[in-house]
């Protein structure tokens, strides 16, 4: 975004001073996607109003983007980093190089992909600078690029299809090279909001600026990518391994997984503090080499007073269950609809609301609507669109969350702050929120019912149990409210991050070993 606004806001950079205290690095979210991590970034900047922030938004090139947030006054610099050059720009560029140099790059690239060491990244950075390629295109579409891809292919996965490897390499290493060549905002500390390319950029920032980097993971990026890659039909299977899973030959899926693992390892090594929202995530972080001494849990919080004074739905109101969230596949809205259909067999007056934006995945929304029609639930299920939830919570008896994956869903905390019990799948920190941590003292008791994933029957049973038993509903609602008040207040989370930033900003420059 080269708007005059940004130009004026980044003028400090040219004067040789640190233009911001903290540079936030976000991938595929803020400020273009609403909700989730984007909202969190917006909250973080507004909560630390005494600090000056810069933001690097890593995006895929060639996509339409619209800013969804009004930038806070303490955001002094905003940059975009496009990862992949469109192939239409490809033209063969002459370059002088020796085969030995290409060999050196591919050897280092393979070493980095396999180990994800920060030292390998530094060496790669040095070699790229030595190549003299100032533009990514010049590197990717050149004799040097060709020799590098050949060398990498032969070392990594010679049994797989070269054609497929070439395009995968171009996507992965194109992103890697783009990150290594990207100019960085001048900041006192860098804060990556995920691993992947954001984490890689933070690792590169420590090499370039010698300033400390922090990592916050809401969900575990590498695990999410691994799930996506394992099932992706757009990744060709070029080696027939049958039903074996220990075949040492690398195929394209292995390459993608290996690359994201390497980026994560490198980021964990580079970051001085690694935070996440709940303790279960730390198991996966440790698996990829995160140092336990640098790991911390900082739970998200909410503004309690916004919800605690809301009225509660009484017994005379139509029994209402609400799913609050975007209508997208990961929220598994279809299981919610099916569960509502099954619960309606026992509670004829049941009303099921889907409260959240419906425009992010129009096809999925259309499928959900046709499911509602197919099950004859047009009078029972309603999609409200993007609304102010505080206006709806007073008519809701039970909050539902059928997500396939979550980190720490704020909707449970918001419902809990209003004293509404929840039915949730066993994902992310949902069980921790509803049932409490083992060390909770005194225990608040269960604040809802945890259900198996994609199980409409169990979800429907939980709805029926809570909707038909007023006492149980009251008891669970009160327990959840008490837990949220005790552990999940927004100011506590903001204070934790302020402390973290303070210690990172005060650190002297890291001397590269």
């Amino acid at each position: 975004m080269n708007s005059p606004w940004l130009a004026s806001r980044s003028r400090d950079r040219d004067q040789g001073v640190r233009s911001s205290d903290v540079c936030l690095i976000a991938e595929g979210c803020y400020p273009y996607v609403r909700g989730g991590v984007s909202s969190w970034i917006d909250w973080l900047m507004r909560s630390c109003s005494e600090l000056r922030f810069s933001v690097v938004a890593i995006v895929a090139s060639g996509t339409e983007r619209k800013v969804q947030y009004e930038f806070p006054p303490n955001l002094v610099e905003f940059r975009e980093l496009e990862l992949h050059a469109p192939p239409s720009k490809l033209q063969w560029l002459p370059s002088d190089f020796s085969n030995h140099f290409a060999n050196e790059i591919s050897t280092e690239l393979v070493a980095f992909m396999k180990d994800g060491k920060l030292a390998s990244l530094a060496e790669l950075r040095r070699l790229l600078r030595q190549s003299g390629s100032r533009e990514l295109d010049a590197l990717l579409a050149s004799g040097l690029g060709w020799e590098t891809v050949r060398g990498t292919y032969y070392r990594l996965m010679p049994e797989a299809s070269f054609l497929h490897f070439y395009w995968a390499w171009r996507a992965l290493c194109g992103g890697l090279f783009a990150v290594l060549q990207a100019p960085l905002p001048n900041a006192r500390a860098y804060h990556a909001i995920s691993t992947g390319y954001a984490g890689l950029l933070a690792a590169n920032a420590t090499l370039v600026t010698h300033r400390p980097a922090i990592l916050t993971e809401h969900g575990i990026y590498t695990n999410e990518r691994r799930i996506e890659i394992a099932m992706a039909s757009w990744i060709a299977t070029t080696i027939d391994k049958g039903l074996t899973i220990g075949d040492p030959r690398l195929d394209l899926r292995d390459l993608w997984v290996m690359a994201f693992d390497a980026y994560a390892r490198c980021c964990y090594e580079a970051c001085s503090t690694i935070t996440t929202l709940y303790s279960e995530n730390q198991i996966l972080q440790r698996d990829l080499g995160a140092d336990p001494a640098r790991m911390r849990v900082i739970a998200n919080g909410i503004v309690l007073k916004r919800f605690s004074s809301l009225e509660r739905a009484g017994p005379s109101t139509e029994p209402t269950v609400a799913l609050i969230g975007r209508v997208v596949p990961i929220k598994d809205v279809k299981t919610f609809i099916m569960a509502a259909g099954k619960a309606r067999e026992k509670i004829s007056r049941l009303r099921a609301l889907v409260i959240g934006p419906t425009d992010e995945d129009p096809q999925y929304f259309a499928e959900c609507r046709s499911l509602v029609e197919e099950l004859g639930l047009t009078e029972c299920v309603a999609f409200t669109g993007n609304v102010d939830i505080t206006k709806y919570l007073p008519i809701v008896h039970v909050i539902a969350l059928t997500s396939l994956s979550e980190a720490q869903p704020l909707v449970l905390l918001e419902g809990g702050a209003a004293g509404i019990p929840c039915v949730s799948t066993d994902v992310g920190s949902c069980r921790e929120i509803l049932e409490g941590r083992p060390e909770e003292d005194p225990p608040c008791g269960p604040g809802g019912i945890v259900c198996p994933l994609v199980n409409a029957d169990a979800t429907a049973d939980a709805f029926v149990r809570l909707l038909l038993d007023g006492d149980l509903r009251e008891k669970m609602g009160a327990a959840l409210k008490s837990r949220v008040q005790r552990y999940y207040e927004t100011e506590k989370a903001a204070a934790a991050y302020r402390d973290l930033y303070k210690s990172a900003i005060e650190l002297p420059d890291i001397i590269a070993s």
Binding site: P158, F162, M231, G242, T244, P329, L404, P452, V454
Partner: protein
């Protein structure tokens, strides 16, 4: 010297001369082959041939030791000079022409130049060779593993690989593996299993819809079996998938029964592969009496799978008399172990069978 003896001596000399001539021709052949192999130049081969002709002529003269021997030896030498060198020269000339022609052909010229390392091979060629070399690497083959074991005891990576395989290619037998993963203690697995489940649910739901449409179209075409086989197989797959609810399963069962009715009334004989698919579909739909009807009517379908289906259908229909008759008649039949204990009444009768 009697005339007979003189004839014999003459024949002997002629034979000797002929043998020497043949030896010289053989020498010609050796020289010629050396020229073709490039071991001997044309300029060396020609004097060698002349020398060979002279040696052959002198040898003939010595061997015959007669007055006429001189003329014969001269004849041998001239013969060799005429028959040998022109052949050699012609061969050499042809060889030179062939080489010239070959060098003018771009393909041969490149090939020869490459062999002489005069030109660099293209990057694409080198890559193709590298790929071919890579393909020849054969690491030790990994063994297939039990998916249930992997879910229960495997590492995170192993289980994620298993779930990935299930997500890419699902068989109804994997349903239990997926269910176990959904209940796993490990949160990362539950999340992935849920994602796989949601994807498969979508896929099968789409297949269910298209199945119904295809089936209706096929049923409207009388006595036309084209395309019926994949439809029946698809119906069976959807029914067995475990991703459809009761109402959807009932709808598929009705369609299978309609196909059964149509094929039962069909005048042209039903192809055996469609019959088999239909029997499988009827069994999956729980329409065992209809399945048994086909199995009894078509003994030609009597293979292991069909016998097992017949057996399990009879068990489910509780037609114990027919079942016992079947087992008595065919004691070798494979008994589905999982289904037999579910019919306790049947147990004493089983003992009758050998």
């Amino acid at each position: 010297m009697p005339a007979r003896a003189a004839t014999a001596v003459f024949l002997c000399k002629i034979t000797t001369a002929f043998a020497l001539f043949v030896c010289a021709v053989a020498g010609d052949g050796v020289l010629l082959s050396m020229v073709f192999n490039g071991e001997l130049g044309v300029s060396t081969a020609f004097p060698a041939h002349v020398g060979l002709a002279l040696v052959a002529a002198s040898s003939t003269k010595i061997a015959l030791r007669t007055r006429s021997g001189l003329s014969v030896s001269v004849l041998v030498g001239i013969g060799l000079l005429i028959a040998g060198p022109p052949g050699l020269i012609l061969a050499a000339a042809s060889l030179v022409r062939v080489v010239d022609a070959a060098e003018q052909s771009p393909f041969i010229a490149t090939l020869l130049a490459e062999r002489r390392h005069e030109i660099k091979r293209s990057a694409a060629q080198e890559l193709a060779d590298a790929i071919a070399a890579g393909r020849t690497i054969r690491p030790q083959k990994a063994q297939p593993i039990g998916f249930h074991d992997a879910i229960a005891n495997g590492s995170l990576r192993e289980v994620q690989a298993v779930l990935g395989l299930i997500g890419l290619e699902y068989y109804p037998e994997y349903r239990k593996v997926l269910a176990a993963a959904l209940k796993s203690e490990r949160a990362a697995l539950r999340v992935q299993a849920a994602a796989v489940h949601a994807k498969l649910r979508e896929t099968i739901s789409t297949r269910f819809q298209s199945c119904i449409a295809d089936c209706e179209r096929a049923l409207s075409r009388e006595a036309d079996y084209g395309g019926l086989l994949p439809i029946i197989e698809s119906l069976t797959y959807c029914l067995q998938s475990g991703f459809l609810d009761g109402a959807q399963c009932r709808r598929l069962s009705q369609l299978i029964c309609r196909i059964d009715d149509a094929l039962t009334q069909s005048i042209p004989p039903v192809p055996p592969d469609i019959e088999r698919a239909l029997i499988r579909a009827l069994s999956a739909a729980g329409e065992h009496s209809r399945a048994v009807k086909w199995l009894v009517a078509r003994p030609v379908l009597d293979d292991r799978e069909m016998r097992e289906l017949r057996l399990s259908s009879l068990i489910r229909l509780r037609r114990h008399g027919d079942l016992n008759a079947l087992l008595t008649q065919e004691p070798h039949v494979d008994r589905p172990a999982a289904t037999i204990p579910s019919v306790p009444m049947f147990a004493p009768r089983l003992e009758v069978a050998p």
